[in-house]
């Protein structure tokens, strides 16, 4: 092997193709309600079953959602986009073709975060095949049945430019996309349930080279974790091939989430010739100014914009701002709390409490739905700042607010959680120092860490009502 090849550094070039199931009321081309686990074949009609003589009619709400997605991703909506037929035989495709947009998509040329968007287009989902038999795959199935409930569900396909440079970046960006789509309210964006699906086009090229290497298309990564693992595995596979002087073959690959193995679905030679041609049963989608305005005005503040605003306006750290912006309900609770706290509210402290202690108590639940009133949290944070309640006692107050709701001052009073004053503390400190004579000795000999044992006793005795700094001062006075 030439030295140069062994040492050469390779740069990953990755593009993503994301399918998003829209949460419209009805299917893409017929009036059937979307299905959420109903009995098989109960959400069907002659149109989505592809019965002879039926014709598709475009769902206006799907176009609206598609335009919202396009605009949220900074794309330019096409004045006239057209549907094509994508022809191939498969039992989950009742017409023998999928109606999809091809060379003139709904919107194109946008950007989300650090990744450029190539295109956004509308299409219909396939039905679901269920294979009887041990493998669950069609080749060795004893019998296969088709459930057409999912067939015809509206899909938006989002294709990125090949701007992604690592598996971790892909997963991080996909999270941004998911939270962005979620904020639009156009999809459940759930990877487990298949309402958000991601394929990756993966290639490597020698660092510094501008032309693209041969790509492989990796399918079936149904979680963020598997997306990252799948891409890493494929990058490793390609790098091994290149380092041995081989070349990557263009093919479609299946990532087995159970074993982590990558296997070939079909080579370039076996690739389908889809024989795309314009769908003669549909007229072009030509959004009116009214439709565009309706989509524009339906756009909420997008998570990326909100993170920037929280950072800028409230002086939050990037991590906290991102967390608050990506979990919309946390961001909303944070902003309401800051507002309730009035002019002197300490936004950074409130952000710490919302993203820290409150989230630890509530898990994934929406604080807006909890018993904690934003005004109560604002006062609690102010009480800590004023020294009326010590930090660890304040955590107990918050737990009480989560459990019962109510007013922090009353809880402090009722539970005796107010900060212990110097008079009360001095007796406790003296008792603790006599109890921990060994530790006192160690501190005197210069082992400062030993002071922790004495403080631990004081905190236990005061049930956290003491201010740590003050306790230290009192101990040192007595050394």
């Amino acid at each position: 092997m030439p030295e140069a090849v062994a040492e050469r550094a390779y740069e990953p070039v990755i593009g993503l193709e994301i399918h998003v199931q829209l949460s419209t009321r009805t299917k893409m081309f017929c009036g059937c309600a979307l299905s959420f686990g109903e009995e098989p074949n109960t959400r069907t009609c002659p149109v989505c079953l592809g019965l002879p003589g039926t014709l598709p009619v475009v769902n206006a709400e799907a176009v609206h959602y598609g335009l919202m997605i396009g605009m949220a991703l900074g794309c330019e909506p096409a004045p006239r986009s057209i549907f094509h037929r994508k022809n191939y035989f498969y039992p989950d495709l009742p017409k023998g073709y999928q109606v999809s947009q091809y060379d003139v998509p709904l919107a194109r040329d946008g950007r989300l975060g650090d990744i450029r968007i190539h295109r956004v287009h509308l299409e219909e989902d396939a039905a679901k095949l269920v294979h009887a038999g041990a493998s669950g795959r069609i080749h060795s199935a004893e019998a296969s049945v088709v459930d057409f409930n999912r067939g015809g569900t509206p899909l938006v396909e989002i294709v990125t430019e090949p701007d992604v440079r690592s598996a971790a970046q892909a997963a991080k960006w996909l999270r941004l996309l998911r939270v962005t789509l979620r904020s639009l309210g156009v999809s459940d964006v759930n990877m487990d349930e298949g309402s958000l699906r991601c394929d990756a086009n993966v290639s490597l090229r020698p660092a510094g080279q501008t032309t693209l290497g041969t790509k492989a298309e990796l399918k079936n990564m149904n979680s963020f974790r598997f997306l990252e693992r799948g891409i890493d595995a494929e990058l490793a596979r390609q790098e091994a091939i290149l380092r041995e002087g081989g070349s990557v073959v263009q093919e479609t690959l299946h990532y087995d989430t159970r074993t982590g193995a990558i296997s070939s679905l079909r080579s370039k030679e076996e690739a389908h010739d889809y024989r795309y041609f314009p769908e003669p049963d549909l007229v072009p989608v030509a959004p009116t100014e009214e439709m565009l305005e309706r989509a524009r005005s339906a756009l909420p503040e997008l998570p990326a914009e909100r993170a920037e605003r929280l950072e800028r306006d409230f002086g939050l750290a990037l991590d906290a701002a991102t967390l608050l912006a990506f979990r919309t309900e946390l961001g909303d609770f944070f902003e309401t709390t800051v507002q309730a706290g009035g002019e002197n509210a300490d936004a950074r402290a409130i952000a710490n409490w919302v993203t820290g202690e409150l989230t630890a108590n509530l898990g994934d639940a929406d604080p807006g739905e909890s018993k904690v009133e934003p005004a109560a949290l604002a006062r609690l944070v102010a009480m800590v700042a004023d020294g009326a309640v010590a930090g660890s006692a304040a955590k107990e107050v918050l737990s009480a607010l989560v459990a019962e709701g109510g007013d922090p001052e009353r809880i402090v009073e009722k539970e005796g959680l107010g900060r212990a004053d110097a008079g009360e503390l001095s007796g406790i400190v003296e008792r603790a120092m006599s109890e921990q004579a060994d530790a006192v000795q160690k501190v005197r000999e210069g082992n400062d860490k030993a002071i922790g044992a004495i403080m631990g006793v004081v905190m236990r005795e005061t049930k956290g009502r003491a201010d740590g700094g003050e306790v230290q001062r009192l101990i040192r006075e007595r050394l």
Binding site: P46, L49, G50, L51, P52, G53, T54, L55, P56, V57, V58, R85, N87, F89, P91, P94, K95, G96, Y97, I138, S144, V146, D273, R275, Y276, F277, P280, D281, L282, V283
Partner: protein
Amino acid sequence: MSSEVTELTAADAAGRVRGGELSAAELFAAWRERAAGDSLNAYLWLADEAPGEIAAEGPLGGVPLAVKDLFCTEGIPSAAGSRILEGYRPPYTATVVERLTQAGAPTLGKTNMDEFAMGSSNENSGFGPVKNPWDESRVPGGSSGGSAAAVAAGLAPWAIGTDTGGSIRQPAALCGIVGLKPTYGACSRYGMIAFASSLDQAGPLTRDVTDCALLFGQMIGRDPRDSTSLAFPEELTLPTAERLDGLRFGVPPELSGEGIEPGVREVFDQTLARIEELGGQVVDVALPHSNEGISAYYLIAPAEASANLARFDGVRYGARAGDGDLLSMYEETREQGFGDEVKRRILIGTYALSSGYYDALYGRALRVRTKIAQDFRAAFERVDLIVTPTSPTVAFGLGERTDDPLAMYLSDFCTVPMPLAGIPAISIPGGMSEGLPVGVQLAGPAFSEGRILDAAFALETAIGFDGSAARDA
């Protein structure tokens, strides 16, 4: 009595029913009896009895209707003339049939046709050919051959068919009746088993122009289930014109010269003379790209058909064959279910859309289609209507062209350019040649059906064609 009411035109019969002189149930029974005597193989299915309710007060007065097998009719066999759909009973009814039923034309039967409307002689039917009532050794034309033969032979008062490249007009011409191919989008395609979606249109096949106008007036209108349908822009009234004064008729030499047999040309020339006698002006008009119509049509229509017919895979309805393996189910079902002409067109269409051939074949055909439409637009700046023979020949013999697809394709030579341009055209009987009817075609700009029907009515009156010989047989 039955022989008497079936001699009435549909419009006259409707008038009598609406006037209370005739009961719709009796009328249905009389026609049912006539249809049951079908010796032409025109019908594939016949209603056992009159439907419980007939909207006799509607504009169509309870006059029963023969429906081409291409239209889906709920619970009634709808096989599009194909073995692959033998016994298939759709769960819904085509919009056009639904509208006509509501307007007072109950379905009498389903008529034979070339399989999936692919053919010009009705010999491609999966259920045997139809015979021409003027001469049973000859074809009735196609693909709406069953509908045309039924009306010509007096087995139905009127019928509907579909036209993709001439499938209403050419059989109407060969059977000596009236057939109208409407403007693309005038009638809903919902429930018509698709052949070539960008060309298919439903239309009437009738004994005379008045019946045609009456039936057509109830077929039109926007359908929310068909995105390509349009509201008809003007009110249609029954035609009354007696003269053609002020109308300019364009004769395109490309569609009326070479390839037209002498007997047909003779009738055509007589028709031009009549037009002038009625005050119309006859001028030459060029349609320079219409000679390429057949080539473009036989790429575009098969391309669309190759996708439209992909759904017949044995999975959900119709025939299923094979040994249980997916690929063998696809292959055997389609091998056994489709006839030769359908297979030929699926292959042509698949090839025309294939990567590497698309631009040279399908793409080029689309460009020719645009040129043909431009030719018509330019022509209609100079003339009001275009007039041509409908078919280059009279009805040919059964079996005469079955071994020569190209000769068969040329039967559509005069009718193919209009659907490519999306414009309406009618065929009316112009006279006889060799004891067989000859059709004359009038075409106009989009949504000019009113003008076409008026002119056709005036000409029809002047020609005085007598089709009763075919009904007496």
